[in-house]
């Protein structure tokens, strides 16, 4: 745990240093840029709550990727599952009218069903035709992208709008806000705790982790790996779908073109930096969210475009993952040397 923390912090520092070098080459002042970045994401109530609100889709898709990767299935379909989940929640919000205490849980469940449906397709293709989910989920992403684009351009198009988008969903389906504090974070925390318990404390989670580490051992030990595979795919799809549903319910309250943004791919990156660790996913999700939230302020104050953050994020991922590997190699080597010395002595 301490090693992880050290490599994480070191990696972030090195990556921010590399970012500073790029800024110096481009002729920007790194100190004012970074202080603008973090004051707009962490300095005060308003920035902090915005960071929290923006972290929800990142953490949920990251959680989805972490659980999938740690349990075996290479589910890279979070972008598609997020979009389908968002579409389900939007359509539910447009046609169903209930009081808020019923409406919000209903839309949340609809979003999860949407995501699970989309990952379920990939799971079925794997189960019955042994098609590799690595490729099928990627292709389903593109298909979901075009499908939702069609859905918001024709059947659910808002006739008063100039660009493809749906009308706003029923007000009862909006997540309540207190000042700038959006309750989507509460939903996320609840789901996170539940998933954490299932994954680390229940037999089911134990079996998933076992399968992820060694599927042959797990099968010989009596785990139903085929059934577990489908369960994990459905769960991770539901998590990604939930991320999409919450984006609609907390943010624009409608499905706009480009709604999914880069959330899901960022989530996949977060899972990778966190090495599929759930708590790590939460922390890195918050950190990435603070970068993205601050990017707008950074662009406002300095001349650095907000796209710079996208570059910085992938640099952070590469540096931390590579650094972790290097740290392991260095530690192993020193250990071997010490042992060799003990033997010769």
């Amino acid at each position: 745990m301490r090693k992880k923390f050290v490599s994480g912090v070191l990696g972030i520092v090195v990556a921010l240093g590399l970012g500073a070098v790029i800024m110096l080459i481009e002729g920007f002042n790194p100190i004012t840029t970074y202080s603008a970045l973090f004051s707009y994401s962490l300095g005060g109530f308003y920035p902090l709550t915005t960071t929290l609100r923006n972290s929800v889709p990142l953490i949920l898709t990251g959680l989805s990727a972490s659980i999938a990767f740690a349990s075996g299935p290479v589910n890279l379909g979070q972008p598609g599952q997020l979009l389908i989940g968002a579409l389900f929640a939007t359509v539910g919000g447009l046609y169903i009218h209930l009081p808020a205490p019923l409406m919000i849980p209903l839309l949340i469940i609809l979003a999860m069903i949407g995501g699970a449906l989309w990952s379920g397709i990939a799971a079925l293709m794997r189960r019955f035709f042994s098609m590799d989910e690595f490729i099928t989920t990627l292709m389903l992403n593109m298909i979901a992208d075009f499908f939702t684009y069609w859905a918001i351009s024709y059947p659910f198009f808002d006739k008063t709008a100039y660009s493809p988008m749906t009308p706003q969903i029923d007000k009862a389906g909006w997540l309540p806000e207190f000042g700038n504090f959006n309750t989507n974070i509460l939903v996320m925390v609840l789901v996170f705790v539940a998933v954490w318990f299932i994954f680390t404390r229940f037999t089911a989670g134990y079996e998933w982790r076992l399968t992820g580490q060694n599927s042959i051992f797990a099968r010989l030990g009596g785990c139903k790996i085929d059934k577990n595979y489908v369960t994990v795919m459905l769960l991770t799809g539901a998590l990604a779908g939930l991320a999409g549903g919450l984006v609609v319910m907390a943010g624009p309250h409608r499905f706009l073109k480009g709604l999914g943004a880069n959330y899901a791919w960022d989530g996949v990156m977060i899972a990778m930096v966190a090495n599929n660790d759930l708590i790590g996913t939460l922390l890195y999700g918050l950190f990435f969210s603070s970068l993205q939230t601050g990017a707008v302020g950074m662009e406002l104050i300095t001349a650095v475009p907000s796209e710079f953050i996208q570059v910085l994020q992938s640099v952070i991922v590469l540096v931390i993952v590579a650094g972790r590997g290097m740290l392991d190699i260095v530690l192993d080597k020193t250990q071997i040397k010490r042992k060799a010395r003990e033997r010769t002595a």
């Binding site: 481009e26 293709m125 035709f129 042994s130 098609m131 590799d132 490729i135 099928t136 990627l138 292709m139 389903l140 992403n141 593109m142 298909i143 075009f146 499908f147 684009y149 069609w150 351009s153 024709y154 880069n262 791919w265 960022d266 996949v268 990156m269 990778m272 475009p305 796209e307 710079f308 953050i309 996208q310 570059v311 994020q313 992938s314 640099v315 991922v317 590469l318 993952v321 590579a322 590997g325 290097m326 190699i329």
Partner: protein
Amino acid sequence: MNIFIGLINGMISGATPILLAALGGTFTYYAGIFNIAMEGMMLGGAFFGVLGSYYFNSWPMGILCAIIGALLMALIFIVFTVFLKTDEFVTGIALNLFAVGATTYMLRQIFNVKGVFSNPGIIPIPHIDIPFIDKIPVLGDILSGQNLMVYVTVVVLLISVFAIYKTRFGLRLRAAGYNSPSLDSSGVRTSTMRIWSLVICGVLCGLAGAFLSLGYVTLFSENMTAGRGWISLAAVILVNGNPWGIALISLVFGFTDGLGLLLQKFLPNQFTSMVPYLATLVSLYFYSIQKRKKSI
């Protein structure tokens, strides 16, 4: 007849970038690298192609810059996977996202635009008319007058087949993936072979990117590769790296691309754009069924 010729030509230009990138992927596939960074390399190539063509006002410089751009991406991949021994999967995903971020960032920094950069100053790669052949009816319209890069692709395909199966380099390349300890023990470094395979992959992805931004269309748009790198990867996996098989599959994908354009008269274009991805799923289905039969 015109529709038929149009369909064939659409198939060829749709297949070209996929085939080029997939041939690059074949080299890394044989060298035993799980290379999913083709998408990023292609995107880097496409951007630098536009950059070179625009600043030097010449398409050869565009192609050269595209190759350099893709090689830069390949270099990052080499540094992390070969030297630092980072996980190939993680590096690939991060590199693809890096490519999207970096090209978007540079698009804004260098050209001061968001989304799309198109300008008459970008010189496209020319189409080549072959004398005599272009006089033949029907066949002349297909064989002649294609983009230069299409002919380059055919040459690259032939060279790849020869290099992989008939040369010492190819033998060592395949040994690197098939049994790296025995290659190492015979005095050839596996890591050297892997680096070369990634360099070749970078060059070919650069050509693919150049075709996309200087041949297929003459502009650069954000994330313009649109999953073509992933389709290339699927093509490589589907035929276990056989270059002839890859050529065939690329033509099938190119055909569905052209078919999609044709179907636009009857369906909303969002559905016709799905066709190549659906085709990938269908071919994966047949591949998996066949593989399962063999294993039983």
